[in-house]
Amino acid sequence: MQVRRVVISGMGSISPFGRGVETLVESLFDMKSAVVNVPALNDLGGLRPRVAALVPYIDPKEIPRKFRRSMSPMSVFATLACQEALGQSSPPVEYFTNGRMGIIIGSTVGSPIVTEEFFRGFLASHSTEGMRATTFFQIMNHSCASNVAQTLGINGRILAPSSACSTSCQAIGYGFEMIAFGKQDMMLCGGADEFHPLSSAIFDIMSAASVAYNDAPHLTPRPFDLNRDGVVCSEGSGIVLLESLDSAKMRGAPILAEIVGYATRTDTSNIADPNSDSMEACIRDALQDAGINADRIDYVNAHATGTIQGDIAEAAALNRVFGDNVPVSSLKGHLGHTMAACGALETIASIAMIGKGAIVPTLNLETIDPLCANIRHVRSVEHLSVQTLVKNNFALGGVNTSIVIRRYEHD
């Protein structure tokens, strides 16, 4: 089987910094924090975190009612991010309907906001009376993918991976493979999630949510920092348009970067605890898939969410693969943890770093944890020509993912 080269020809972002890739990248380089105090979190008994990073208000009515009626906020985010990616890439209209453009967009769960609304009524009445026909379409796990497909009229393959923090990294990886193997020519890939207090609660219950900076939200999360205390939940959507290199060149599409390797592995040592051996194996698999040695990597965009265990495990894995010379940074300090969107948003930001020839440092990394000091941290904006980078995401449930991305050298 002939394997085709796969490039990124469009990117779209809805992030806690607002709409658009440009806003995302500028905010990251400006070292802004999107994390704020969220008063609504006071209303949930037992919950300790009071901080989150939320997408600024978007009027969903810019999406026609016919399509919006089956959308919760996460589908609105995904649809708008897809529109931005498609706007940048401008594929011909026939791609939408010839079965050769597909969609892989996942979320951690179906809409938690609509699920709560539904069960409020259902548990009070124990009746199906008054249930709306459109509720299911907002709650189903493939809501984002289906809503994007319906709204944009894209009729190729559709898939909705759900692996929490690894969701959109897996989406990109599987899209890469489908195009490489000739099954599709273009794939809109990424993830989306909407914030709900229970997202914070999940991490709080496991003692993995940040609670010590409720009065100074911009100081958390703190990836790799000695004084980190956990995850800050966030929301948004990141989408990349993958395309075969041949297709992109033929139609003169913008080529922003090339995907050259992907790996995903299951960590069976524990459903919750990160494991550096498994992370290392995943990274090495991705490098092998790309056919390159570790010494060819110029930058690693870490998953590093600011949890005690996760950051130490990732640093150990990175040290064993790359030593202590490859620049590493995490974007969670700026964005919080956008969950299913994080892999794609961080991929987008990493590609922007290739374009700018500069690396975004880790925000809130003031005192490096000695247990994370075995890698080279990016502490301030570094001007560096990045040819090839690794993007990691490691999820609860033991889902590890790594992507290898390379600068595309135009002919």
Partner: protein, 84 residues
């Protein structure tokens, strides 16, 4: 409620729910072809009208035969009369 008040309440309820233009709410308007309401919308239409008028109508056979806005007007007016 007068028949006119019933018709007005139906029209405004549907305009608000389905973001329709009040000027399009003619009795002869087809729910599907003129107002763009599909099968999912018809389910939610019954729900919002039940809420607006305070009685059940979803299980009525007559609801399946409704094609136009005028059919809804007549159906609800008839139901209201039966209840008195």
């Amino acid at each position: 409620m007068t028949d006119q008040e019933i018709m007005t309440l139906i029209d405004t309820t549907l305009v608000n729910e389905f973001e329709l233009n009040i000027d399009d709410m003619a009795a002869e308007a087809s729910l599907k072809d003129d107002l763009g309401l599909d099968s999912l919308d018809r389910v939610d239409m019954v729900i919002v009208l039940e809420k607006a008028f305070g009685f059940k109508m979803g299980e009525e056979e007559a609801i399946k035969a409704i094609r136009t806005l005028g059919d809804i007007h007549a159906f609800v007016i008839s139901k209201k009369q039966q209840m008195h």
